[in-house]
């Protein structure tokens, strides 16, 4: 699948508008995970508005591709992309984290259509993605499975159990995207518990690996296309990203891992995102 310059531009603008809605929802709630929602926004926009097959009117459509947000704390990003994709009214985004809302602090598949499985406890999404990939293979169906993992999340042992399983069963209908923003709650990943060399690790586990700039929409799209063509093994796309990407106030700041923007910060962020020229 090729992409035109116009489509690429539209994707970039989509990601910019998603960032606006993510921050509005977070600020309205007063809590939530800002940094990791923004760092993964470009890859998730590309998945939903370029790559994946789905029908928002029929969230359980058998022919759909599956998206698993293994780093469940980026829930505001998942909710925003689902709302933009038409799974529910974007007006509902303002209910984020409120009592009775379908938009729980971490994704809850029981209540929100479009969420394939509840996540939040780290390290579990890739195993679930493996199960889905195996189900599609049993059905001889062409559906593809995508999972987004955090880099701090790679510290969980279960991730590497799942990495072995995916390679063992040659799950070439599976693609994992690693949001390598370099920060976790307690500080830089490299200081808390180093996970590098990430690409070597995945390669040595038997995966095809692409190492890209996770904010370069052209690179994201190209890597997703290349993953389609990989046969006999799963693909990991290591996306080098910046935590809080898109708003200079939040970029690279560990403080915004689990904090929402204040009203004042939101105003500054909105100005920057509204004025952002999509390059």
């Amino acid at each position: 699948m090729g992409i035109t310059q116009e489509q690429l531009q539209a994707l970039k603008d989509r990601a910019r508008r998603m960032r606006i809605d993510i921050l509005k929802a977070l600020s309205g709630c007063g809590s939530g995970h800002t940094g990791g929602s923004l760092s993964a926004a470009d890859m998730v926009a590309a998945l939903y508005f370029y790559k994946m097959k789905y029908d928002p009117k029929k969230p359980d459509w058998k022919g759909r591709d599956n998206f698993i947000l293994s780093k469940g704390h980026a829930a505001p990003l998942l909710y925003t992309v689902l709302a933009h994709a038409g799974f529910f009214d974007p007006a509902e985004l303002c209910t984020l984290r409120r009592l009775g809302s379908r938009l729980q602090g971490h994704p809850d598949s029981k209540h929100l259509p479009g969420v394939e499985i509840s996540t939040g406890s780290l390290g579990q999404g890739l195993s679930v993605a493996n199960g889905l990939a195996l189900a599609h293979r049993l059905d001889k169906a062409p559906n593809r499975v995508y999972a987004v993992l955090g880099d701090g999340e790679l510290q969980e042992g279960q991730v590497w159990e799942a990495a072995m399983t995916a390679a063992h069963y040659k799950l070439d209908n599976l693609c994992a995207l690693i949001d390598n923003n370099g920060l976790q709650i307690d500080g830089p990943v490299a200081k808390v518990m180093g996970v590098e060399p990430i690409t070597d690790k995945w390669r040595s586990f038997g995966w095809e690996v692409f190492d890209i700039d996770g904010h370069d929409m052209g690179q994201i799209v190209a890597a997703l296309d290349k993953a389609d063509a990989v046969k006999g093994k799963p693909t990991a796309i290591v996306c080098r990203t910046v935590k809080g990407k898109g708003v200079s106030l939040f970029e690279g700041k560990v403080e915004y891992h689990g904090a929402a923007p204040s009203k004042e910060e939101l105003a500054v962020a909105m100005k920057e995102l509204d004025e952002a020229v999509c390059k």
Partner: protein, 314 residues
């Protein structure tokens, strides 16, 4: 009583039958398929069997994904690893999203024998029972295991079925009809009622015979579904007999004894004595020796009945 079939063997055969009837059934194991008896399914349906290796956490997550993908997964390993090692995966990826995953564990309780305390799960019922959406079943014999496997396949939602390593007597005839959440009353009794599950139901029936010779009429109720508990059967027995003994090959904390205590204390307070593992770990030994050492024999249940009747008369 003659020993006929281990509940794990009945599970293995039931899985194969289920696999013939339904092609959405898939089975996962964590390198113990020869012991859990999922190897029978693996042989019959190799394309629908997934060995995940010694990685129980990944196995539970993979089972969850297969369920999301429309399959009916059965995940098996030893009870201690299934429920202990992978507890939080069962919580987050199976129970919280209420997925249709069946966890059938083998080698539960101290009758694992010589392998010792590290491998003897005496906490699994407690840690599964506490999870919302989870159904917990402890079959007493091969007949009940076969029917329980068919029942959990029809039931929508996560289920935990506990099986054992050793051959057990067959207690149920072909006319038995297992139903999730329904106790089976073998004997109503008058002086006290023994509520038992798993291999302890056979011991309870033996205890009844011991007590009968002493002129004590002890009821025997097989409570194979620990959750949802057949509260009606518990309260009825309490009102009828005025005293209850529970018997399980599990810690007396949080399992069948715990569940019955909760039901009794809220609705029909009656003296209760819990037969089970007394807040200790298991150890190596032969099965009969271990049953006696941990106070799980028919004689121990009979003693508990005498004790609870004394409490009643106070």
């Amino acid at each position: 009583m003659t020993l006929n079939v281990a509940t794990r063997d009945a599970y293995g055969d039931a899985l194969v039958n289920l696999g013939k009837k339904r092609n959405d059934v898939v089975v996962l194991d964590a390198d113990l398929s020869g012991s859990t008896k999922t190897s029978k399914f693996a042989k019959a349906f190799p394309e629908r069997f997934f060995n995940i290796g010694i990685a129980e956490q990944d196995m539970m997550g993979t089972a969850a994904g297969l369920a999301v993908g429309g399959k009916l997964p059965f995940a098996s390993t030893f009870a201690v690893f299934a429920t202990g090692r992978a507890w939080e995966q069962i919580r987050q990826s199976i129970c919280y999203p209420n997925l249709n995953v069946k966890i059938v564990a083998s080698h539960a309780g101290v009758t694992v024998g010589e392998d010792g305390g590290s491998h003897q799960s005496v906490e699994d019922i407690a840690v599964m029972r506490v999870l919302p959406h989870m159904t917990v079943i402890v079959p007493a014999d091969g007949v009940e295991t076969t029917q329980a496997i068919e029942a959990v396949a029809e039931h929508k939602g996560p289920c935990y079925v506990r099986t054992g390593r050793n051959k057990v007597p067959t207690l149920f005839g072909p006319d038995y009809a297992f139903k999730i959440g329904k106790a089976h009353v073998f004997h109503e009794g008058k002086d006290a009622a023994i509520i038992a599950a798993g291999i302890m139901t056979a011991e309870a029936l033996k205890a009844r015979d011991i007590l009968k010779a002493e002129g004590i009429d002890a009821g025997v109720i097989n409570m194979s579904t620990i959750k949802p508990l057949d509260t009606g059967a518990v309260l009825e027995a309490a009102r009828r007999c005025g005293a209850i003994v529970t018997a399980e090959e599990h810690s007396i904390i949080g399992g069948l004894g715990g569940a019955v205590a909760e039901a009794l204390s809220e609705s029909a307070p009656a003296p209760l004595v819990r037969v089970g593992i007394k807040d200790v770990f298991g150890s190596s030994g032969d099965c009969d020796g271990l049953m006696k050492h941990y106070g799980l024999s028919a004689g121990d249940i009979a003693a508990a009945v005498r004790e609870v009747i004394k409490k009643k008369k106070r």
